[in-house]
Symmetry: C2
Subunit: 141 residues, 2 copies
Amino acid sequence: MLPGEFEPFVRGSRVARLATLDPSGHPHMVPVCYATDGHAYYSAIDAKPKRTPPERLRRVRNIRANPRVALLIDHYEEDWRRLRYVLVQGQAELLAEGAEFRSARELLLAKYPQYATVPLAEPGLMIKITPERVVAWSAEP
Amino acid sequence: MLPGEFEPFVRGSRVARLATLDPSGHPHMVPVCYATDGHAYYSAIDAKPKRTPPERLRRVRNIRANPRVALLIDHYEEDWRRLRYVLVQGQAELLAEGAEFRSARELLLAKYPQYATVPLAEPGLMIKITPERVVAWSAEP
């Protein structure tokens, strides 16, 4: 679904934005760290400083009530000819433990050295996004 | 609604992400340039390279059908103690011309020198977001 020339961009970008739906159906967004195995996208509910317990986080409550999400990975610079983005629309689910939880954790650990000091304990909470529709856009032809 | 210490961050950030709702109610996202007068947020449908005429753009059709949007302004860096974001949830409308269109255009021109070469013609299309709920978050206390 993702054009091959966008793969390094999607794997290498350091931050994405996750949109979920509020109970009222209003869009909600947060920046997230993420990793992908080339199929699904994973984002951990980690020990980054948060004032809210994981289960109370808006993104978690939203996904439990409505799994429809979007994930946006984009590049901005002042030369607007170099803008690009990848939009992933899909279904989210929450993984608490198990083989897929652990392989997603390995992907995140390999991408973000920060997770060495912000552990991803198991059981924990991992958002898995399965793409249904992917849009890849670049200002350059 | 926005804590004062976040104002320079919100005014100065160069890119935001806009979430709208698809006809099916699925969240959709794009990166956007934007400006704010301290109350509303404005983003132009400009002459940045696009393969779709403005009226056919997904964000425009989505807003016409459902004005509920979110705008996220965030800062990422590898030192996760310095993460921060501002989430604006609100109602969007489309301005085609008039005094508010022109004052929003002035804000965008003042912020983005690129608009000198990517004109914001009137009549045109300008997204106006009126905040209903603002969340400001910083990893630092």
